[in-house]
Each structure stands twice: as structure tokens, then as C-alpha cells.
């Protein structure tokens, strides 16, 4: 079978589950090579974390330019690997970074691009959910090397163990990639909770929390869930922007999404409407969020959530 590329996803220097999800899709269409972009001498330690998923090999590219120049440097490395190794396709995670890298690689290699796929078939047909999840679209790249970005948490990852062959590759940094320099970097500190986009359950709070996220967090922790927020809550400074769900925040599609004190504006829905199950607590029976709820409680979140938390505690003991 021919080779297919997957760009590895790391956060906090730890490999993310998304890498195995991408590999699971990719393995349907070819023999998977995972590309690891690393700082000088950091590659081996990162590659050693590639231990699950249908992965045949790991290709390490080490350069200080990834931290210095970001997206354009990553795109240069991948574009050159695509040109020399001619993979059948490349799969990248649908994050802000992943999509921008994909966009530049598409231009550099004159290839078609599909973003935000929720599945990829053996013939590289990508499935996308559009218009707030109301329509399923199947499409295929028709020119160049298909470049497809896939949303985290959309496919069931094959987590069987693997022992990939590891090798190294070099690339030449273009002059234009050096035009904007990262002069300082402050990664978001991750708390103990699961990553929003990877979580099986997300519990979100909105303006209805009135700034008090304690009941939301308590319920989330009992369910092992990530905590999300509406823009009203992040704008008010009640919760960090990195937790915003929606059009201009993160897109999540967990097994269960619990919206507390959130009205369900179209921009919020854009980031959570494809969740498999939606549960709502809102005191306004007319709130639009009820239109997409599988289960809704018309009530005060400060009464309903603590009782629900009590119920979960009781069911555990």
C-alpha cells in the first residue's frame, strides 16, 4: 500500500488522542507515517510517545524554526516532505494551527483542501457536517495531494499498540516563512480536567451562572467532564477564553453536552450542535437552546445542578 501522512498532535509535550484518530482514518487509505515536528534534540522523546494506533513509521523533523516562526515553518517542512515522498494524502487535526498549516501546504503543493471532516473513507472521501449539523456533505479532493483536516473526537480511534520504525528528515526553511517572528509564547496552562475538544462529556456555563461556575465545575468533575463557557461568560471574564465554545471558540462534539444558563445563540450552537446528546438547564422555557435539547430542565441552575450532582454522587456510592 502507498504511504499516507498524518501530522502528529502534541499538547504540553504529550501526544494527544487525536493523532491515533487521524491514523485510524488514514490507515484505510494507506500505510501510515506520522510526522513529528520537534525542537532540536526533542524528536526522539516525542516519537517514543507514538505507541498506539495503526502506525507503520514515524518521521521526525527537528528545527528551532517551529518555535520561532510557527505555522509557516511547519507548512514548509510538510510541503517539502509531500514533494519528495509523494504520499497519497495528508491528514491534519482541525485546530487553528492545523487548518492554517493545511492551507499553506495546499497552496505550496497545488493541492485541494477539505477542512473539518468528521470522517474519511478508504477512497479519501471526506464527510463533513455543515449548517449546524443539519446537512451531511461527502466530498473528494480532485487535484494534487488531498489535504484533509479532521475534527478531534469524531472517529473512534483504533488504539491497538504499535512499534513504528523511526527516521529523520530535513527541510529548508523558506525566506518568506521567516517574515514574522514569535518573540514570546505563553501556552495556556491546562488544569486537571480533560481537554475540551477531546472530552467525552462537556458541561458548559453561560450568563445564567452570573459568574459563579462552582455548580458547573462540581457537576463536571463528578462526570469526569471538561468545562466550557459561552461567549457571554468569557467576555465577562468569568471563565478563560480558551474554554469558549462556539463559532469563535472551540468546536466540540462530545457524547454528552450539558448547557447551563446558556440561551443557545446561533454562534454558540455552531460549536456544539453536533454533540451526540444535549442536555439543557435554563429557567426560560422559551430559550432557543431547548430546540436542540434531548433533555431539558426548565429551572434555576443553582437548584437543579446541585441536586443533579447529589444524584450522581448517590449513584456512585
Amino acid at each position: 500500500m502507498s504511504e499516507i501522512f498524518v501530522l502528529a498532535e502534541f499538547s504540553d509535550n504529550k501526544i494527544s488522542k487525536t493523532t491515533a484518530e487521524l491514523a485510524t482514518c488514514a490507515a484505510r487509505a494507506g500505510t501510515v507515517t506520522v510526522i513529528v515536528l520537534a525542537a532540536p534534540s526533542a524528536g526522539a522523546a516525542m516519537a517514543s510517545q507514538v505507541v498506539v494506533g495503526p502506525i507503520a513509521s514515524v518521521l521526525i523533523v527537528e528545527s528551532d524554526s517551529f518555535a520561532r516562526f510557527g505555522v509557516p515553518a511547519a507548512a514548509d517542512a510538510i510541503s517539502q516532505l509531500v514533494a519528495t515522498k509523494k504520499p497519497v494524502a495528508i491528514l491534519i487535526a482541525s485546530s487553528a494551527f492545523g487548518k492554517e498549516v493545511a492551507g499553506r501546504v495546499a497552496v505550496a503543493t497545488e493541492s485541494g483542501l477539505i477542512t473539518d471532516a468528521v470522517d474519511v473513507a478508504a477512497d479519501l472521501t471526506a464527510t463533513q457536517l455543515v449548517f449546524g449539523g443539519s446537512t451531511t456533505v461527502h466530498s473528494q479532493v480532485t487535484h494534487g495531494t488531498p489535504i484533509i483536516t479532521v475534527r478531534p473526537n469524531s472517529v473512534n480511534a483504533d488504539l491497538s499498540p504499535c512499534t513504528p520504525a523511526v527516521s529523520n528528515a530535513e527541510f529548508v526553511l523558506s525566506e518568506s516563512a521567516q517574515r514574522a517572528e514569535i518573540i514570546s509564547s505563553a501556552p495556556f496552562v491546562k488544569g486537571g480536567r480533560p481537554e475540551l475538544t477531546e472530552a467525552q462529556i462537556v458541561v458548559s456555563g453561560g450568563r445564567g451562572t452570573n459568574g459563579d461556575f462552582a455548580p458547573v465545575e462540581t457537576f463536571a468533575d463528578l462526570l469526569g467532564a471538561a468545562v466550557g463557557a459561552s461567549r457571554a461568560a468569557t467576555d465577562a471574564g468569568w471563565y478563560p477564553h480558551s474554554h469558549q465554545v462556539g463559532q469563535t471558540g472551540k468546536t466540540v462534539s462530545p457524547q454528552l453536552y450539558v448547557a447551563c444558563g446558556i440561551s443557545g445563540a446561533i454562534q454558540h450552537r455552531a460549536g456544539m450542535q453536533t454533540s451526540k446528546m444535549i442536555v439543557v438547564i435554563n429557567k426560560d422555557p422559551e430559550a432557543p437552546i431547548f430546540e436542540i435539547a434531548d433533555f431539558g430542565v426548565v429551572g434555576d441552575l443553582f437548584a437543579v445542578l446541585p441536586q443533579a450532582s447529589e444524584g450522581v454522587r448517590a449513584s456512585k456510592s
Binding site: 461527502h138 517572528e181 450522581v312
Partner: protein, 256 residues
């Protein structure tokens, strides 16, 4: 300083949307200025206001003929003039074609900065600004939560805000910048602005005029199917047992 702002006309976010022959049906819905692009227009206005007279803002947009309506709105906020590329061959154009057309217009204009929104609310790809930077060979300063321009040294510094964290980035002109919606509060067009916008020039160009040949197809939609409508959910009024009922539901669905 010459600034270009890329603005797109999109279907109203609230409109029911459907696909016809693999393309978004744009005729059946109200069209508006992509609201995320208003932040780019506002930021361009603020950059110019901070640095005095002698600068200009040109809007650049690609889309169907009625795109001029959305462009008028951005002109009424205070931009100086606009270039709209419209051509039957561009119907259904994707980001690769869009970025090619926009880059061609931009490269003819001797701009110092190009500002964009982070996403068009219909395509939702968030790739056009990065593609523009790649095509033009310019600095890429995307997802900016703040922009500081220093015209004397021809440099610009931004904070890049993404799900991964916050970076500070610096570059010399020319640069492509995209701004996030936290950066500012876009102004409402004033009555004076609306009247003035009526007299501003919107230059309409076709592909032939641009010297860009018929566009390549990059990807194709095989089918677009409406998903089965969600069954109406259960709605209970909390009369003291709402939380317990919620837990029962989750237990029934084996979610806890």
C-alpha cells in the same frame, strides 16, 4: 500607509441554509457582511486614526454581484473605496481559488497591510488569511487579539490568540493580519457615514480584467444530504425534582 481589508458577503447566520447541486444556495437567503470581518474593518480604522492623515483603506471582496451591498456597509463604517471581483466562473470557488483571486488584487495595490476576519461564517474554513500570506510571500500575523503598528519602522506586533495559547509576534510590512472578535467593538455606521458611502467608488472587476484564467477545480462535492431531523426532546419543569430527573435520564442513556 495603505491598508486593504478583505470582506466577504455571507448568508445571514440565522437563515435556513440548503445545498443545491453541491453548492450553498445563496439566492434564497438574506446576505450580510460577514460579521467577523467588521472587526477587521474596525481595526483598520483604528490603526489609521492612531497615525493621522494620509493613509487609506481599500476593501477587497470576491463574490456575486450583490456583494456590493455588504461592501457598502463596510464603506459606511469609514473605509475609502473598494474593489469587488465578480465573475460567473467564480461561482462555488473554494479557498484556493478565493485566495488566488484576492492575492492577485492585493499584489497590484502596493498595500502595507492586509486585514481579514478569522473566519467566514458560511465557509468556516479559517484558511484564507494563511493562504494569502503564503501566496504573497508576506508575513503571516493571524488570530490577532491586539495589533500595534509602528509606521516609522514599518513594523507591526500582534498577540496571536489560539486554543493553544497566546504568542507575541512581530514582522516588517507587508503583512497579512487576521483579527479575532475580542479585539475591538465595531462601530455602527453613522448617518453621515452612510450618506458618504453612497458616493464612494466600488470598482468591479472580472477575471479577465484581473488577468486570472479560468479557475481550477480543487475538490468536488459528491452529495449533500439533509440529516434526519432530531426528534423533539423531553422537557421537564423543575418543581423540586429537576436535578434528579436529569440524573435519571443520563442513567437511562448509560451516560453515567
Amino acid at each position: 500607509m495603505k491598508i486593504a481589508v478583505c470582506v466577504k458577503q455571507v448568508p445571514d447566520s440565522w437563515a435556513e441554509k440548503k445545498m443545491v447541486n453541491g453548492l450553498l444556495d445563496r439566492d434564497g437567503v438574506d446576505a450580510v457582511l460577514n460579521d467577523l470581518d467588521e472587526y477587521a474593518v474596525e481595526e483598520a480604522l483604528r490603526i489609521l486614526e492612531a497615525h493621522g492623515e494620509g493613509h487609506s483603506i481599500t476593501l477587497i471582496s470576491m463574490g456575486p454581484e450583490r456583494t456590493t451591498e455588504a461592501v457598502r456597509k463596510a464603506l459606511s463604517m469609514g473605509a475609502d473605496d473598494a474593489i469587488v471581483v465578480t465573475d460567473p466562473a467564480l461561482v462555488g470557488a473554494d479557498a484556493l481559488t478565493t485566495s488566488q483571486v484576492l492575492a492577485t488584487v492585493i499584489s497590484e495595490g502596493k498595500f502595507d497591510l492586509v486585514l481579514c476576519g478569522t473566519e467566514s461564517t458560511d465557509a468556516r474554513m479559517s484558511v484564507v488569511p494563511a493562504m494569502l500570506a503564503q501566496r504573497l510571500g508576506w508575513a503571516q500575523l493571524t488570530f490577532a487579539g491586539s495589533v500595534v503598528v509602528d509606521p516609522t519602522s514599518s513594523s507591526v506586533t500582534i498577540t496571536r490568540v489560539t486554543e493553544a495559547g497566546v504568542d507575541t509576534m512581530k514582522a516588517q510590512f507587508p503583512a497579512v493580519i487576521s483579527v479575532i472578535e475580542k479585539i475591538n467593538e465595531p462601530r455602527y455606521p453613522s448617518f453621515k457615514g452612510i450618506m458618504a458611502a453612497k458616493k464612494k467608488t466600488i470598482e468591479v472587476r472580472t477575471l479577465a480584467l484581473l488577468g486570472v484564467s479560468a479557475t481550477q477545480s480543487w475538490s468536488a462535492v459528491k452529495d449533500a444530504l439533509p440529516r434526519p431531523a432530531k426528534l423533539a426532546g423531553i422537557k421537564v419543569l423543575d418543581e423540586g425534582k429537576g436535578g434528579a430527573e436529569l440524573v435519571n435520564f443520563l442513567a437511562e442513556k448509560k451516560l453515567i
